[in-house]
């Protein structure tokens, strides 16, 4: 498969991204995210009970998507060691997490991916794997992934920005759509996404540009009708996710002169009703080195949890984390716009 875009973010330093997000309109007339929270007496934002352990096991990926907040790609070498994975397993075993959410990069590319799943398989109610789909088609050694997923009753959550080729390939690279369709057929064949099966296959929609997602239910209806009619593919739910203004998507916004308009769109759409459902309130995000964050986006901005420890999984302390303040900044407008946004779709 050829990759249309092979361009890593021009922002090498998370601090420079935060600087961008805090100048311009937010340095003058527009209320910052934290000022909005203060108006609602929700600042500082505090967590609820931790339920989801989201772990990014490495930034390597077979794709180089133009919107990727992880800045993932084939040449990324950051991968979690077995030692850190073991620390994660211990924390999962000794705490009451309901869900482990495994992400990357393409997490399946990690040589210890299957080992890690086997270690946690009996420890939680639900394991999510965020699969980009094309990894299943990329090499023979991955063709059996649907069977592996099934053997551990994994909930597969897969990105598919649109139900037709042009818009999908423009975001994710040439050939991604056709390979995604092939992978979805393989998943359907083992029972994933079928109405008579308990194997869950959800799709993730994120807009292919500088606009917000439409109503999630309406999009799901369109996706289901088109994928079934044109490709005989079934899935369970569509999760609509807003693109957050960081990493490659921030590059795109600036280069295309959409940055200011997009930030106004996010701040104008600020929905107080989304705050209580924010994923940072019940999720812990862990990076490949074992450092902890309030969400995957904070992970990419290197905004570690503001607990009293060193924010490393080796010193996990549930009480300290429960007492922490969630780290928020202008990118958080992406999670409170309209119906809200999280790794589980809308929150309102």
């Amino acid at each position: 498969m050829t990759v249309k875009q092979f361009k890593y973010s021009t922002f090498k330093d998370p601090q420079s991204q935060l600087k961008w997000l805090n100048k311009g309109m937010f340095a003058s007339e527009e209320k910052t995210f934290n000022e909005n929270l203060k108006d609602l007496k929700k600042y500082p934002l505090k967590p609820d009970q931790l339920e989801i352990f989201q772990v990014n096991i490495g930034y390597q990926c077979n794709q180089t998507c133009s919107h990727c907040h992880v800045d993932a790609g084939p040449h990324r070498t950051e991968m979690m060691t077995k030692e850190v994975m073991g620390m994660c397993v211990d924390v999962i075993r000794n705490n009451n997490f309901k869900t482990v959410d495994i992400t990357g990069g393409a997490p399946e590319m990690h040589k210890l991916f299957r080992w890690f799943v086997e270690q946690i398989s009996d420890l939680v109610d639900e394991i999510i794997v965020r699969s980009n789909l094309t990894i299943i088609e990329s090499n023979k050694k991955y063709h059996d992934l649907p069977y592996f997923f099934k053997s551990h009753n994994i909930r597969v959550v897969s990105s598919l920005p649109y139900f037709e080729k042009k818009r999908t390939d423009s975001q994710r690279g040439e050939g991604v759509f056709s390979n995604s369709i092939k992978a979805l057929k393989r998943l359907n064949q083992v029972g994933y996404g079928k109405s008579d099966s308990d194997l869950i296959l959800d799709l993730v929609y994120n807009p292919s540009g500088a606009f917000l997602p439409d109503n999630q239910e309406n999009l799901e209806v369109s996706f289901k009708r088109n994928l079934l009619t044109n490709f005989n593919i079934e899935f369970n739910s569509l999760l609509a996710i807003t693109n957050l203004p960081i990493s490659r998507f921030l590059d795109f916004l600036i280069e295309s002169d959409n940055y200011e308009d997009y930030m106004y769109k996010l701040s104008d759409s600020f929905n107080p009703a989304a705050i209580n459902g924010l994923m940072c309130k019940n999720t812990l995000s862990v990076d490949w080195q074992g450092y902890m964050y309030d969400c995957d986006f904070n992970q990419m901005l290197k905004l570690r949890t503001a607990d009293k420890g060193d924010s490393h999984i080796s010193n996990f302390n549930a009480n300290q984390l429960a007492d922490r303040t969630i780290v928020t900044n202008q990118h958080c407008f992406g999670c409170t716009a309209g119906e809200g946004s999280s790794c589980q779709g809308v929150v309102v």
Binding site: Y162, E164, K166, R167, P207, S208, G209, F211, L212, P213, D214, N215, N218, L219, S222, D261, Y264, D268
Partner: protein, 109 residues
């Protein structure tokens, strides 16, 4: 600075500052118009895109282009909607050729 500044669309709500009663009624009605009813919100969006081109409103073209993308229309569908607007405008010109013919025939010996 051009006559139409795209940023100005954010000030649309301010028309109520000078006439609150009518402004409020307009925005309430406008919001109601675009809700799903006998026509879906998605169908109304593509109608709005076509009409935006027919009336050549820059703000409306920006707004309903974005809305059509959000609602999942393809580029091909969006351009077909603009052709529909163009066909009606072109047709409206051409059909008046009948008036021209009627008048010319009446005036001529």
């Amino acid at each position: 600075m051009s006559y139409y500044e795209s940023k100005d669309v954010r000030k649309f709500g301010k028309i109520s500052d000078w006439q609150k009663t009518l402004g409020d009624k307009f925005f309430s009605w406008y919001g109601e118009v675009f809700k799903s009813s006998a026509l879906s919100a998605k169908e109304k969006s593509i109608i709005a895109l076509a009409v935006s081109h027919a009336v050549q409103c820059p703000y409306c073209i920006d707004a309903y282009t974005e809305d059509a993308l959000k609602k999942g229309y393809t580029e091909e569908q969006m351009m077909e909607a603009v052709h529909v607007a163009g066909a009606i405008r072109g047709g409206a010109t051409m059909v008046h050729g009948v008036q021209m013919m009627n008048k010319a025939q009446k005036l001529s010996m």
